[in-house]
């Protein structure tokens, strides 16, 4: 079992086509932090703290996630829904801890999405 010491929700409006970079102000992007897991949500499982509607279940199925460290892609185009615990009986991918480089991370809309929706992902992380 992997023990999680910290979690942080990241949410941001998603472009209806193409890629949308992650916002850079997340607290887990510091030098002493390593990401150990990520969980995604849609409109059936949450609402963003700023009140923005999250992507629908069908739109979530059209999104992939890419996470990077400084050397390149660690998680490459993995389906958003594969990170939704409600879709996987609560089982989540425990990552080998890695230092995330948010400047290289993005979500991709692989088909046109409903406008003015947000994605929301919780990052589980540990501090050195």
């Amino acid at each position: 079992m992997v023990l999680v010491s910290h979690m942080e929700l990241v949410y941001f409006p998603v472009n209806i086509t193409g890629i949308t970079p992650f916002p850079l102000e997340a607290g887990f992007a510091g030098g002493d932090v390593k990401v150990v897991g990520v969980f995604a949500y849609d409109t059936n499982t949450g609402i963003a703290p700023n009140g923005l509607a999250l992507v629908s279940q069908s739109d979530a199925a059209a999104i992939t996630v890419t996470l990077c460290d400084t050397s390149g892609q660690v998680v490459a185009e993995v389906p958003y829904r594969d990170f939704q615990r409600d879709q996987t009986a609560g089982i989540w991918y425990a990552f080998q801890p890695f230092r995330i480089d948010l400047t290289k991370c993005y979500v991709r809309a692989n088909a046109p999405l409903t406008s003015e929706r947000s994605v929301a992902l919780s990052f589980a992380f540990v501090r050195d």
Binding site: M1, V2, S58, A61, A62, T64, G72, Q73, V74, V75, A76, E77, V78, P79, R81, D82, R85, Q87, T88, A89, G90, I91, W92, Y93, A94, F95, Q96, F98, R108, N110, A111
Partner: protein, 133 residues
């Protein structure tokens, strides 16, 4: 619990033919002797409607008509395992953890065992770089 060091989606077009064997494409992140596969999962349109190139992923109904062969050298390490058995969402979130090994993706393939609607197979490999392990 096995930790996932790296993950890579692989997707490619499947023809409609009921007997086709479609090899995996080469994928930059999975090339080279440094790469060892630790696990594999698959997706149908319920989990991923469209691949990153916009193509339509195989339907749930068609996904049960597919089997997967993964090859290491001359050894078929995964031999005609149902694609559906690799779909995490259909298996309580569990994924097959493999003994770490290099794979010959171009010798590996997905087989249509009945006619399907032409669409895209999408599988995700969990892998590590030996130099990092």
């Amino acid at each position: 619990m096995i930790l996932a060091p790296r993950m890579q989606l692989v997707y490619f077009a499947l023809p409609a033919s009921g007997t086709a064997q479609t090899p995996f494409p080469t994928v930059k992140n999975l090339l080279g002797p440094d790469v060892e596969i630790l696990g594999v999962t698959a997706y149908n349109a319920s989990q991923l409607s469209n691949a990153p190139d916009g193509s339509t992923v195989v339907s749930a109904a068609d996904s049960i008509k597919l089997t997967v062969v993964l090859q290491k050298g001359s050894d078929q390490v995964i031999q005609q395992v149902p694609y559906s058995d690799l779909i995490r969402a259909w298996n309580a979130g569990m994924w097959w953890a493999l003994r770490p090994m290099p794979l010959d993706l171009t010798k590996s393939y997905v087989k249509n065992n009945a006619a399907i609607t032409a669409s895209t197979a999408a599988l995700m490999f969990i892998y590590r770089l030996r130099s990092e392990s």
